[in-house]
Amino acid sequence: MNDLFVYTLRLGDDALIAAQRTAEWIAAAPQLEEDVALGNIGLDQLGQARTLLQYAGQVEGAGRSEDDLAYFRDERDFLNVQLCELPNGDFAQSIARLLYFATYQHLLYEELRGCADETLAGVAGKAVKEVAYHVDHATQWVLRLGDGTEESHRRMQAGLDTMWPYTAELFTSDALVERLEVAVDPSTLHDEWERRVTQVIDESTCARPTSSYQHSGGREGRHTEHFGFLLAELQHVARSHPGASW
């Protein structure tokens, strides 16, 4: 398979699956203002996913559209990191994930907007502003939950701890990113990511998660058990009517 196709798919799948989870908060958020805020974040993520998947289809050259890629690939063909597919959990857990993921995306897109591939650079240039806002939103909540009440502190800590073992996968380098010139080697983003995330966690009065074990497999299409359910829901209408337009 074409390296650029696979690389674009990785980024697109991350954004798509993140959007699917974020959208689950709409009509279930802690307050009305947050329903609207998370709606904006989900729409940003979905917008990134659509542009990236469209481009992946174009690069592949087999005539697959964004919808073909989103709705008619099986579980093992999705290349998103497991962090994106984990269930939302409580609000603190979702916010912990947003902090980790958006901070990563922000660093990634900052690099990617200078890459030689015009389309990827264009997507990154637009998305970098969006994810900067996501980082800010997550940061505001981590501070409030971490340094709010006893209960919120406990929940925030638990959220940060639960999501932490899924973060290393974001920064794993492999032969593909080394070969592909336009790709950002994610391992180069790790130290700055850790510095930024740690700063927020410290300020929130939470403790930095200590777990050393780290899950992986998403980039090779090995996912958590949760992922099959997520895909079943995402794909079932489209798959029940193959060839139909919507």
């Binding site: 798509l16 959007a19 699917q20 959208a23 689950e24 709409i26 009509a27 279930a28 958020a29 802690p30 307050q31 009305l32 203002e33 947050e34 329903d35 609207v36 709606g39 904006n40 989900g42 729409l43 979905l46 917008g47 996913a49 659509r50 998947l53 964004e66 919808d67 989103a70 709705y71 409580d90 609000f91 501070l143 409030r144 939950l145 340094d147 709010g148 009440t149 209960e151 919120s152 929940r155 829901e233 995402l234 079932h236 209408v237 489209a238 009517h241 060839g243 139909a244 337009s245 919507w246």
Partner: protein, 313 residues
């Protein structure tokens, strides 16, 4: 010089706008609070029947549109609660009244969304009916409500179109898709007609609301407007309105139609609709699950304020 109630009456008679701090009859204030709150509740409960299809929307374009639409509804609930608050109530108290079942929301949202075509039908029929109801409210005598409605109507103009577009695509699709569209119209037609409320003859609040400039047209008038507007659109889609008695008066251009079975409406209002309990339970759960988050944010704000004061001293 006109003071208090005389000034209120003069403003109403001149078709002017009443503003929050003006003197107003207690009945006017109470009617508005009840109506605006019910309207706000409808927006946020209305997020559910559509929201539950965001995860299953059959294309990414549709998913984005639906997310934006449901998000708008949260925004509209928010604008409306804010309008109600100008009358001296608190949003938290209004939400409690919703959660305890003491205040109602539009019965239409107690019907289930069973297929993707229902998302089209809601946009086309339910938002269509809502627009017919809401456009006159932009001229409501109470300023903050009228202004909120101007914003709501402006934003909702895409809601109805996207619904029609969904159905139009289905009706030009496979046999199964077309059948899905017809089925959705069959199920949503009568509940949509009931969105305009009971017939004028048995409507309890209408007369006073008209006199106060809160309501501008009668229930039956608006229902007629909706039918006249919608039936030709169904013809364009190529699906059939499920009313055997539907005929068009060539002279007036108005349709005559079978009156919906209002006993069903009264049952749903009483809490016996297919989804009453489910909708309210979902709403209450979101609220209760979010309590610790809201408490945390308040506690944090307090700590920060204390810190700021400490460093200023």
């Amino acid at each position: 010089m006109l003071a208090g109630m005389d000034s209120f009456q003069a403003t109403i008679e001149a078709d002017g706008r009443i503003e929050p701090r003006d003197a107003m009859p207690e009945g006017y204030r109470k009617t508005l609070i009840r109506q605006i709150a019910q309207h706000a509740h409808s927006e946020i409960i209305g997020m559910q029947p559509e929201g539950n299809w965001i995860s299953r929307a059959p294309s990414l374009r549709r998913k984005a549109i639906l997310m934006a639409k449901v998000q708008d509804e949260a925004g509209h609930g928010l604008y409306l609660y804010a309008a109600a608050e100008t009358l001296g109530v608190d949003r938290a108290d209004l939400l409690d009244l919703l959660h305890s079942g003491k205040q109602k929301y539009s019965s239409i949202f107690n019907y289930p969304t069973l297929t993707w075509a229902d998302i089209g039908a809601i946009g086309w029929l339910v938002d269509g009916a809502a627009i017919v109801n809401q456009v006159p409210l932009c001229r409501c005598s109470y300023g903050p409500y009228a202004r909120a409605m101007v914003r709501v109507c402006k934003e909702e103009s895409f809601h109805q179109r996207q619904g029609f577009e969904i159905l139009h695509t289905l009706c030009n699709g496979t046999e199964a898709q077309k059948a899905m569209a017809q089925d959705a119209l069959n199920r949503w037609w009568w509940p949509s007609l009931m969105m305009f409320g009971p017939p004028d003859a048995s409507s309890t609040h209408s007369e006073q609301s008209m006199a106060w400039g809160i309501k501008r047209h009668s229930n039956d008038e608006l229902r007629q407007r909706f039918v006249d507007m919608t039936v030709p659109q169904a013809d364009v889609l190529g699906i059939r309105v499920p009313d055997e008695g539907l005929t068009c008066d060539e002279e007036t251009g108005h349709y005559s139609f079978t009156e919906p079975d209002f006993t069903e409406l009264y049952e749903v209002v009483k809490g016996n609709g297919p989804c009453n309990q489910q909708r309210l339970a979902h709403r209450v759960k979101a609220h209760e699950d979010g309590a610790w988050v809201r408490e945390a944010a308040a506690a944090y704000a307090e700590k920060q304020a204390a810190k700021a004061q400490g460093s200023a001293a």
